[in-house]
């Protein structure tokens, strides 16, 4: 085997090694992403249990006519309540 062939084979081996390392790192990355996804979905499923139980899709609900107005009205009521509480606190001796 000539020196040139030896060099070429060594280069191939090095390239293979580099690719293997790259694959391993991508695989590890995939596992981490999947772990995070699983955790987020599971956590969300824990949190929305009662919404799912009652078949409540809040996004769909809030898209219905009047929902935005109702929300606006509630925010208005909340703002007024806050102001009243603040005023009460200020007036408190």
């Amino acid at each position: 085997m000539g020196a040139a062939e030896r060099t070429s084979e060594q280069q191939l081996q090095a390239e293979n090694e580099r690719l293997r390392t790259r694959v391993a790192s991508l695989e590890a990355e995939l596992v981490e992403t999947q772990a995070r996804t699983n955790a987020i979905v599971a956590q969300t499923q824990e949190r929305v249990y009662w919404l799912d139980r009652w078949h409540l899709d809040l996004n769909a609900l809030m898209r219905r006519p009047g929902a935005a107005e109702l929300r606006g009205a509630l925010r208005g009521v909340r703002a007024v309540t806050r102001k009243l509480r603040q005023a009460k606190r200020r007036l408190r001796p």
């Binding site: 999947q34 699983n38 599971a42 499923q45 824990e46 799912d52 078949h55």
Partner: protein
């Protein structure tokens, strides 16, 4: 520009006929055909005055589908429009239809809205307007609404020639709509192709008309109008409120609105009742049907009160063969419309059509990786499902070992149709094991996996079609083809072992069967026992009690044989206390017994701790129950020569008997009569199952999953 013919069936239609023919002249259609079925008013005169020569037919020959087919045959336009005698096209109607057919070469039919006339009652006006407002303008394909109305519709001749109207009593248009979409034609809703049309009958006539309409709808599509007192009250209240709102918008006075409210309540209430009756007309006596029908139609008469809509059901005269004397004629057939959009085993059909999804290329060392991405595909479940308990006991432990686990429910039976994923996950955690990972319903969010794991036979074909997998495995709890007699299900269950899934079987017996019978690649695992629960409880052990797992809804439990054995035992020992459990149904038997129904695991542990002998039979794979009995120190009788020997050996802690009532009774008696023998079996049982833990089962399943990945590496 395509030529256009218009066909109008007429009977006593003088009221709007002149207006209609004038409108058609204005629209510039190429051909008008009026088919009269015995008018006794001025209809024929009006038609002839408009320069149209009517085609007169015998009223008895009229049929909605048949007469319209005749009209299409007798005309020549590339487009065939159908109008009723009281539907007047608005300006631009013909042009609008021509535009609809220019949208796509596959447009087979188009229809336009029905507008109320100025004198139409508010109930009908509102209903018409809101009904057509519900359709989006444009094309409708297979899977969309099949609605089509011959009050105002237009057909491509090519489509009519292929589909033709069915000869049914009513709703031939609706049937055509369904048939054409099924055959790949396109339908168009064209809002500009409107007609003025409204039936304004008296209250009772309306109700009888609804009876006819829903009867026809039922006959053509199978629709049954739901009816419930509360629901009806709610619907009528909503409809009356809608009418009042409409009347208010139209500027009706307070008195007019009050009068409308009463009419509206009668109208909508009557409609609900009569439409429900109409769609169940076949359950009513013929004379009652005749009375309720506006057309006086029952199954034996075809005398139309209005002529236009009367039709004889069943075979048309030209289709009914003349039967020779002594030869029974074939009875009239019933057309059954499609009622759902899928086959029973649609995923199996898809798999047979498309095959398995290709697996990802293996990655060197993937079988030995510490954390695997595992996706468990499970079938529908109930509280107490034994197979699911096994799967999830193991899967939750794999999760605790660091593997990334997700559960995918394949709801083949539709049992979980109303449940959303978070509820399914909570049920799995409550019924079986506290998994931490996510639960998905269906595969819409499929993300790929190192190993996709099929479980029940129904899950195998969908699992084979999941992509982005490195390997697939199959946890086999039992030889499921044996659950069925010769059947489609049996064949499909057998098929699941022939697709190169690496099997992980729930006993050595089952593993060997899969290898020998199906040449499958297979490992085995031993079912585990929850020793924290199943251990001798602090209760007094009785000396006179045989308990029997008599789950008669599961045929593989050989309950008739078990009962015969207990009958024999009772004959020999009348004082023996016999307790049956495992099923809510109470069995009839020739011996007295105590019934316990379905018990919770803690209750089972107590029962096993106080009984003298247990009886649990399985004609297929060994189940968990005998192990749990043994763990509580309860000797148990099982069937010999099936699967138990593969776990316990032929002289292990189980008392084995052949499938013979006397042999089983003998085995039970040996344990009842001989205290030393009982002691030995009890002690050996506890010792034997001590090593049968879920942790150990998890080790074996994990090894099986890694084996599946290793096979993939080696196959490349």
């Amino acid at each position: 520009m395509p030529s256009m013919s218009v066909v109008i069936p007429v009977k006593d239609g003088e009221r709007y006929l002149e207006e209609l023919l004038d409108a058609l002249a204005r629209e510039g259609v190429d051909e008008v055909l009026v088919i009269d079925s015995g008018s006794r008013d001025r209809s024929l005169q009006i038609v002839r005055a408009a320069g149209v020569e009517p085609l007169e037919i015998d009223p008895a020959e009229f049929g909605h589908g048949r007469t319209r087919n005749l009209g299409a045959q007798r005309t020549s336009g590339e487009l065939i429009c159908f109008l009723t005698q009281d539907a007047t096209p608005v300006p631009g109607w013909a042009t609008a239809y021509r535009e609809a057919f220019a949208l796509d070469e596959h447009v087979g039919a188009a229809y336009g809205p029905h507008l109320p006339r100025p004198d139409t009652s508010p109930m009908i006006a509102r209903e018409l307007t809101e009904f057509f407002a519900g359709f989006a303008a444009g094309v409708q394909r297979q899977g969309d609404a099949t609605f089509l109305s011959n009050v105002n519709a237009c057909y491509a001749r090519a489509c009519w020639e292929e589909i033709r109207f069915r000869e049914i009593a009513y709703s031939e248009d609706q049937a055509f709509g369904a048939d054409m979409l099924q055959d790949g034609w396109i339908k168009v809703y064209q809002p500009s192709a409107a007609v003025l049309h409204a039936h304004d009958y008296g209250a009772l006539e309306f109700m009888r008309r609804y009876f006819d309409e829903y009867r026809g709808l039922h006959e053509s599509t199978g629709h049954v109008e739901p009816f419930g007192m509360l629901a009806t009250a709610r619907q009528v209240r909503a409809a009356v409120a809608g009418d009042r709102r409409w009347a208010s918008e139209q500027g009706l006075s307070g008195t007019e609105q009050a009068s409308l409210t009463a009419r509206s309540a009668v109208h909508h209430g009557g409609r609900r009742v009569f439409s429900a009756l109409g769609s169940r007309a076949e359950h009513l006596p013929a004379p009652v049907r005749g009375r309720l029908s506006l057309e006086g139609r029952d199954d034996r008469t075809a005398t139309g009160a209005t002529g236009e809509s009367a039709a004889a059901p069943g075979l048309s005269p030209d289709l009914a063969p003349d039967a020779a004397p002594g030869v029974s004629p074939v009875p009239p057939s019933t057309h059954i419309a499609p009622k759902r959009d899928h086959d029973d085993y649609q995923d199996v059909a898809r798999f047979w059509r498309e095959g398995a999804a290709p697996l990802l290329d293996p990655v060197p060392g993937m079988a030995e990786r510490e954390r695997l991405r595992l996706a468990l595909v499970i079938p529908s479940f109930r509280r107490g499902s034994g197979g699911h308990n096994t799967l999830l006991q193991i899967f939750s432990r794999l999760e605790r070992r660091g593997h990334l686990c997700s559960v995918w429910l394949y709801d083949f039976t539709g049992q979980h149709l109303a449940e959303w994923p978070a509820v399914i996950r909570a049920d799995i955690r409550e019924f079986f094991a506290p998994i931490e990972g996510p639960v998905y319903k269906g595969f819409a969010d499929w993300q790929g996996a190192d190993v996709a794991i099929a479980t029940g036979w129904q899950t195998v074909h969908p699992t084979l079609m999941l992509d982005q997998c490195r390997a697939r495995a199959y946890i086999v709890n039992d030889h499921e083809p044996e659950f069925y007699a010769a059947s489609t299900e049996r064949e499909m269950a057998e098929d699941t072992y022939r697709h190169d899934l690496h099997c992980i079987a729930a006993s050595p017996w089952l593993r060997d069967l899969l290898i020998e019978r199906y040449a499958a690649s297979a490992d085995a695992f031993q079912l585990g026992v929850d020793h924290s629960l199943y251990q001798p409880r602090p209760v007094t052990r009785r000396k006179d009690t045989v308990i029997y797992y008599a789950r008669h809804v599961t045929p593989r439990r050989a309950v008739p044989v078990g009962l015969m054995a207990l009958s024999e035992l009772h004959r020999r020992r009348p004082d023996l206390r016999i307790v049956l459990f495992g099923d809510e149904g109470k069995l009839e038997s020739p011996f007295p017994y105590e019934h316990l129904g379905v018990l919770t695991p803690p209750q089972l542990a107590t029962l096993y701790s106080e009984a003298t002998v247990g009886l649990c039979l399985s004609l297929t794979n060994f189940s968990l129950m005998p192990k749990e009995m043994l763990a509580c120190g309860l000797p148990c009788v099982e069937l010999a020569d099936v699967s138990a020997e593969s776990i316990f050996g032929s002289d292990g802690p189980l008392e084995l008997a052949t499938l013979d009532p006397r042999a089983i009774a003998d085995a039970l008696e040996r344990l009842l009569d001989d205290p030393e023998h009982w002691e030995q079996r009890s002690r050996e049982g506890i010792e034997f199952v001590a090593s049968h833990t879920w942790e150990h089962a998890t080790d074996e399943v994990e090894a099986g999953l890694r084996h599946a990945l290793r096979e993939r590496e080696q196959s490349e």
